[in-house]
Amino acid sequence: MNTRATIRLLPDGRRLYLNDGPIDLIVGADGASEEVARAYQAAASRFVTILDELCEELSLLRTRASNHSPFPKGHIAGRMSDAVSAYQERCFITPMAAVAGAVAEAVLATMTEAAELQRAYVNNGGDIALHVSPGHSYAIGMIERPENPSLFGKFDISFTLPVRGVATSGWRGRSFSLGIADAATVLAASAPAADVAATIVANAVNLPDHPAIARVPAREVSPDSDLLDLPVTRAVGALCAEEIFEALKAGATVAHELQAKGWIHAAAVCLQGQVLLVDPPFDPIGLKSTGILPPVVAREVNNAQSQRRARA
């Protein structure tokens, strides 16, 4: 029996907080109160075994994914493996890149199987799995960094939108990034897919060999990091407008590529107060900047959008 896990309602009395080791989940659900209670109960019972399941295969999950990788046994581990396999040819990636999204998805699935909910979410440190039933939606706000919580973008996820996962990655987060994005937010069909794509896009927001960026081999900070000796970002100095835009464009280019393959729905990248949006090609979903963009970035966004519209 797992005696480490903490299960509490947050002080608002509505959201559920689940913690076990490095996993912290905030869970919310709307529906009839008995249904919500049943969903929370199911979430809690599923939750308490997750960390042990994952740790059983931890060394496999921390190993670079390739065509020769053995398939993991656990269900969540399998979803992680699936999510990263699309990327394993193009870059170094381990299943851990999708762990947060896969855990969120698994807990959410347990809840929706156990109860009839109008809508529900499981937020695993910024990697969010969503459930919306017909007629309901979630309004999602994006912030640059937690200590500066002003919205730089917001969008609605409705039942008809093919998005059930939202993930954010950046160098300031709990896990390491190879890039310099303060935040790269990705909307995708599932939480594990969003999680790994956010990692890839955040890694791509970059200025290779820039002197203002401090990088350290991952294992120098965290001896058992799955990133081995890849250089992870530890500090980013002030950058000029052109540099910021160059880095954001590199990230947006990769995001467009993933979008063209159908792996993600939309994305936003953010660096030192500037934002670049990668709207979905056909039905803009109201991914709006909140008007803090400087003219140069805003113009580029418009250009990118009109080019895409032209292509379409």
């Binding site: 896990a5 009395g13 080791g21 809690a44 965290s222």
Partner: protein
Amino acid sequence: MPEVFPKDTIRCDACPVLCYIKLGQTGACDRYGNIAGQLVRLDPHIVLDRAKSQGTPLVPFLERAGEWDGALMKSKEMFVTAIGAGTTYPDYKPAPFIVSSEVDGVDMVTVVTEGIFSYCGVKLKIDTDRHLGPERNLVRCKREPVGHVTTAEYGSQMLSLGGVHHLTGGTKSEGRVTCETLLDLCNGKEVALTIDEGASISVAAGKPPIVNGQQEERMRVGCGSATIGMFAKQWFGKVDEVVVVDDHITGVLSEHQAGKMLGVRETGISIQGRRSTPGRYFQVAQPGTGWGGTNISDPLAILKPFKAKIAWPHLRLLMVSTTGEHFAYYELDESLRPIEKDLPEPLRGSVERIRENCEPALATVLFMAGAGGSLRAGATENPVKLTDSVKRSLTRVTAGGAPTYVWPGGGITFMVDVSRMPENAFGYVPTPALVAPIEFTLKKSDYAALGGHMEFVRTLDEVTREKQRQRQLASLPENPWPLKPGPKSEGEQ
């Protein structure tokens, strides 16, 4: 292949990830860190602040930490609670925080840990005279048995909920619902309970109980007989007869010992019900929500005709309930029938006095638990010495900074009023068991003597410096300051 890690790297064993953590870094959870080669828990964690509760301006913490000159002022004002501290279970390892501070020149140590209590429960006192259910009958939540009815106490009904047999001895569902019930009650939430062959109630700590849909407002001042005793003198001379209507004992002034002593004249009154001793009547009506907890709405229903030989026209009669909520004033007509009249001014005061002496009816929750072996081992290498030290009042036990009562006898079984603890101080683990904060405070020299984990003692300053992981709360003014309890000392109100 054994990997070689730099010196000062430690391996965290708090969860199965088993992170290697370098000096000055945290593990994957950001909760445990390597500080000077020691594994340290860095969680959000509640620190009580004395200055806040006393309303004196508070210096923002960081500013002060930066310029602090090493004086002792700060340690006097802060108390590290166990809420959010983490636990030692199931391993025998030192408590998450062992904090030293200085109080009036004496070095004190507070051992801070969250305990996982499967041996725990709640004593629920419900201020009501209504019959909630027969003694020993089961109390249920969501149809699962979670406790039982114990004795009726003065003006209150006692329920005992939880305990290890409901938590772990019954079905899975019984344990789960019991744990949920205890958690909600301890965290101040409202809980709906039913009693076999009894009432449905809804209770929350510190709030008026709701019995069968009806909110209790006030406790009665006493039974009808006691009320006569308390107010006889105030009525004497202003009225000829008083009947205090009560479900338990209805009192009659002229027959009651108190009336006799004052020389109140016989009135020829005649009461329904079973006479116990003079002026005291049982079962004047059925229990209910009417006058004095009976089912009557017209008080004359409990009177039989006055005895014609004794009673007289214009006899003045006051009828009042034991809560003062109901009252009526009558005078007898020529044929000795009571006719209702306005309450004369001189009697109004006595009715108001009854009401004033009825205290607000509340449901109150005491959490009760026994501190087990591993918890005590987190404080000292020789757990029995901690017990001994508590019994000898050398070690003080608080829960989230709130005072506790430690039950005499073996072990450290304590009770705490949950409404004196910070909000949401309780959690649970799926065992099922409750997680509750507990702090042991004692002199540093005593701590060393009982085999304390001296090598893990950290100064209050070190602990409170990790500011972003802490929540500072004002300590409740009604609680004694945990580091210096007992009668409020000089300089305090």
